[in-house]
């Protein structure tokens, strides 16, 4: 099982290196800007931010 464990270790190291590369690529290519815009993308002109889209009209009703 030592061989198996070493293979796993190598894969983990490669994976960590790849992850670090991916993050630095993302950072230099502005993937982390405009994240708030991404959060707003689910809204549109007809269902804009600020309007609830699902409610019993009379909110005092216990439902």
């Amino acid at each position: 099982m030592i061989i198996a464990a070493s293979i796993v270790l190598v894969i983990m190291l490669l994976g960590s290196v790849a992850t670090i590369f991916a993050f630095s690529w993302a950072a230099t290519h502005q993937q982390f800007e405009n994240l708030d815009k991404a959060a707003e993308s689910i809204f549109d002109a007809d269902e804009p931010i600020g309007s609830a889209t699902d409610a019993f009209l009379t909110a005092t009703h216990e439902s």
């Binding site: 099982m1 198996a4 293979i7 796993v8 894969i11 983990m12 994976g15 790849a18 991916a22």
Partner: protein, 214 residues
């Protein structure tokens, strides 16, 4: 599309890492056991099951015994398995190598069965227990398996030799006899064959029963 491609590659790589670690590695490391000869008896261990015992295993599988019974003895420092007499040593990977579909189990609504063939070798006990667990184990929540037996009218001149000897209060009455079906006979043979950690192997010599949670 380009951004999705990267997300796709990313999540398939994370998936692949788990596939390598939890699928490929086990297949490489745990999937190539060979039988060896027991130095004491000369027999191959773990023993190969007879065809009747294999048939019994299919009955065990078809009726979902695994959902209440495990087949793995844990080491003394982890659990009371050995102290309860469920095995003389922990089970190791090699003990399972001859099973086609391993029945290790993850629930102990009922006791562990790894070594039930050592603990309860009596065929009669198993037949009664499986016909109605209340006979041998009052208060058990194991279901009865009457459909693995045949109930027929008893011929007083010619009673069946393998009819169950049911205690009063159980069974269809004196006019009838209850005979184990072929599937039941096979199942009992399988249970009697369960002696997963009854032979010594170098990976796990018979455990010294250490104090557990005392």
């Amino acid at each position: 599309m380009t951004k999705f491609r990267f997300i796709f590659i990313g999540f398939m790589l994370t998936f692949l890492s788990s596939w390598v670690g939890l699928v490929l590695m086990p297949v490489w490391g745990l999937g190539n056991f060979k039988q060896t000869a027991d130095p004491k008896t000369g027999e191959m261990i773990p023993p190969t099951l007879s065809s009747l015992e294999e048939e019994g295993r299919s009955v065990y599988i078809a009726n979902g015994c695994i959902y209440c019974h495990s087949q793995q003895v844990h080491p003394a420092r982890v659990r009371t398995d050995i102290a309860r007499g469920w095995g003389e040593r922990r089970t190791v990977a090699r003990d399972y190598m001859n099973q086609e579909v391993v029945q290790m189990g993850t629930m102990r609504t009922g006791p562990d069965l790894s070594n039930i063939g050592v603990r309860n070798p009596s065929e009669t006990w198993h037949l009664l227990h499986l016909y109605d667990p209340q006979i041998t184990s009052k208060g058990s929540n194991m279901p009865p398996f009457p459909f693995l037996f045949e109930t027929r009218k008893k011929d007083p001149e010619n009673p069946a030799p393998n009819a169950l000897n049911l205690p009063p209060g159980f069974g269809p009455g004196d006019e009838f006899e209850v005979i184990p079906s072929e599937e039941m006979v096979a199942l009992v043979a399988y249970l009697q064959s369960l002696k997963l950690s009854s032979y010594e192997i170098p990976e796990a010599p018979a455990a010294r029963i250490e104090s557990f949670a005392e």
